[in-house]
């Protein structure tokens, strides 16, 4: 077991290094650096000035070396200009260059400075991840029980009317990406012109103009049911269908097993067969699916946060990418990549623990 985990960890570290290098390479392409030079320096710089700005600010030289610098395994660049002022990656403004550390990459906790948010990357990252954490937590709390319930109910009697109805629902929900369900939910519940809200406010049932709020910006400070329900529903709806279908497939398979038939023939009530005998065995596959659903959740989070203007991780990623905020984007990708890899690892290990039939070679 330990060797298995160690090997997986090794592959994971290698994957993370390769992926962050790809991100580093793609964000530090010459056109991006030129754009950075013009936005940080001046818009009217000549091409020669841009080229020298790039070199003066440590963006020249081999991309591999710069990647190592950024990681913190190679010494950060130090340059002394004509006026005798020494600047460098590790030298803060007004600090003595002699006292500055040699290495300062993300390993040393130096994630850089965001050019858009004008704050250190780590600070912005932490704040936005906390916001997204709440969103994801709410989504999980809603999505997982609903999906498992639908899957178990549909799968316990294959082919019944309940099964047909619930299966159609799960197919429909997995056909509705977040940007579609979000738009429809807002039009139905959060528009003063269409959907339910004009009716309800006409009858005097709701105080405000709309039932739910169409933006989740206020949820940054204070999460309430009315500003958080729509974003959560938007993300959950897409995931529910997939998890429910996997649960159903696993449940129908378990229900055809010999031991279920034996239990039925012994006279155990159907309820007890489902709850005691079938459920535990049917939950192995959905566990993996739920863990592997996290990366897709990340996708949904980006779309939903953009749609509802909720300033979390996804919104920040989009803003950073749209404004050529290289260090912010790199920081966000590190988090995203580690997040995806960690969920994969947990799902693998969890699967092995849950299913004693799997032997590790």
């Amino acid at each position: 077991m330990l060797r298995f985990v160690l090997r997986r960890l090794g592959v994971m570290v290698l994957t993370a290094l390769v992926l962050t290098f790809v991100v580093f390479y793609l964000t530090n392409l010459p056109p991006n650096l030129e754009k950075l030079a013009r936005s940080e320096g001046s818009v009217r710089m000549t091409d020669a000035a841009v080229a020298s700005w790039i070199i003066d600010n440590g963006h020249g030289g081999s991309v591999f070396y710069r990647y190592a610098e950024w990681l913190g395994v190679a010494p950060g660049w130090v340059l002394t200009d004509d006026k005798g002022v020494t600047r460098g990656l590790c030298i803060r403004q007004n600090d003595d260059p002699a006292l500055a550390p040699t290495f300062c990459g993300i390993f040393q906790g130096n994630w850089g400075f965001s050019t858009v948010f004008k704050k250190p990357v780590l600070y912005s990252l932490g704040k936005s991840m906390a916001a997204t954490g709440w969103l994801m937590l709410a989504v999980m709390v809603v999505m997982v029980p609903v999906a498992l319930l639908i899957g178990v109910l549909a799968g316990m009697r294959e082919g019944s009317r309940t099964d047909r109805v619930l299966s159609t629902f799960s197919i429909a929900s997995s056909a509705t990406p977040e940007y579609v369900s979000g738009v429809i939910l807002v039009a139905l519940f959060a528009s003063p012109a269409t959907g339910l809200s004009p009716l309800l406010s006409g009858w005097g049932w709701i105080g405000g103009k709309t039932l739910f709020l169409g933006t989740a910006t206020s949820a940054m400070d204070n999460i309430t049911f009315w500003n958080f329900a729509l974003p959560v529903a938007t993300i959950a709806l897409y995931g529910v269908g997939y998890i429910a279908r996997m649960t159903r497939a696993s449940m129908t398979e378990v229900m055809t097993q010999q031991y279920i038939r034996t239990a039925r023939l012994k006279g155990v009530a159907f309820r007890d067969v489902v709850l005691r005998h079938a459920l535990r065995n049917a939950m192995i596959a959905p566990f993996t699916v739920i863990m592997l659903q996290f990366p897709y959740l990340l996708n949904g989070v980006v779309i939903t946060e953009t749609l509802f203007n909720y300033k979390g991780f996804g919104w920040m990623l989009v803003t950073a990418a749209g404004n050529n905020d290289i260090e912010m984007l790199l920081g966000a990708s590190v988090v995203a990549v580690i997040f995806v890899l960690a969920t994969q690892l947990i799902s693998d290990i969890g699967y092995v623990f849950l299913n004693p039939r799997i032997r590790l070679s």
Partner: protein, 388 residues
Amino acid sequence: MPDTLSWTMIFALMAKQFWPVWVALVVTFVLSIRFKRKLGLYGKLFDSPVGMVGFAIVMFWVFTALFADMIVTFDPLAQLGSVKNPLPGSPTPAGADGQYPWFLLGGDHLARDVFSRMVEGARQVLVIAPAATTFAFLVGITLGLPAGYFGGKLDTVLSFMANLVLAFPVILLFYLLVTPEIRNTGIPVYLAAILFLIPILFFVVLLNSRFHTNPPKRNLYVGVTLVLGLWAYSGLAFNRDPLGVWGMAPNLLNVFVSVVFVNAPTVFRIVRGIVMDIKSRDYVAAGQTRGEQAWYIMLWEILPNARGPLIVDYCLRIGYTTILLGTLGFFGLGVTPESPDWGSTINAGRKLLSMIPHPAVVPALALMSLVLGLNLLADGLREESMKD
């Protein structure tokens, strides 16, 4: 000036506008049900109600894309008058001179007809999504077959690379790969050069392994494939077709390559899994004992027996690709601003979503119905292919 339409009238007029689609659908269904016993898996689809509903929805959009020019009421790019966001069913300002007198589903913020844009959007989506999925499948199959069949180092390397792409959050990849800056560096063209070469390789190996015992026939087939393939390759990947038939706009190539790149690893994993299962069967062992070549066994014995799950996944994956394309449009990546594709129309409409929902809701429902149709179709196909 004509009156504003009621919703009943709007739906009636839309149904009338779609007449070529209804005719084509009826013809397709009558012929298919008549001859369903002779049509293999496709015919069996008409035994499953779910599959039929799905097929009907998908074909509705396919025919809409085909007959788009007959269905649209206006030029999808034309700006009609100065009233912003006219409501569904409201009359157009220039109703007199032979033009269509109403905005059937309203207009958007530039007073362009939402209905016509939705119809034209179907054409855009239904060209790119199936084509990109097909390429992803060819790439996934070409790499997945040897990985599953030979195993060993090849499998380790290819699987590691597939897992690399899969561990990348899709949105991040899109934001990095689909930008105007990256087009200047030429990375999409290099990627296209590699990805588009694989289908040619696939067909050459496919035909060569089958006909290599009969050189004249082999030379003919492989030659034709090479000429056609390299011709299309020069146009699609490098935009240097000498005859100017094949070509792709740079931003479209960028989108296409990224979507293939994201989808291919999943197909690779599926194919590899199926091959590892099938290669232990007796007929594969029999083929090996007969001294058949590895590629013949893979392409002509294993692949046909893996078609069931692959066809089902193909349908699902077209739906997923449609969603991905919508995501790209939603973030305004890689599309021209006036493009009528569904993702970017939703994006354009969402700014005024809570006040004037119709410009965003119409393409949203269109996209959802197409993906739903594809999912139902896949479900029907799975059910019917399991019955064998």
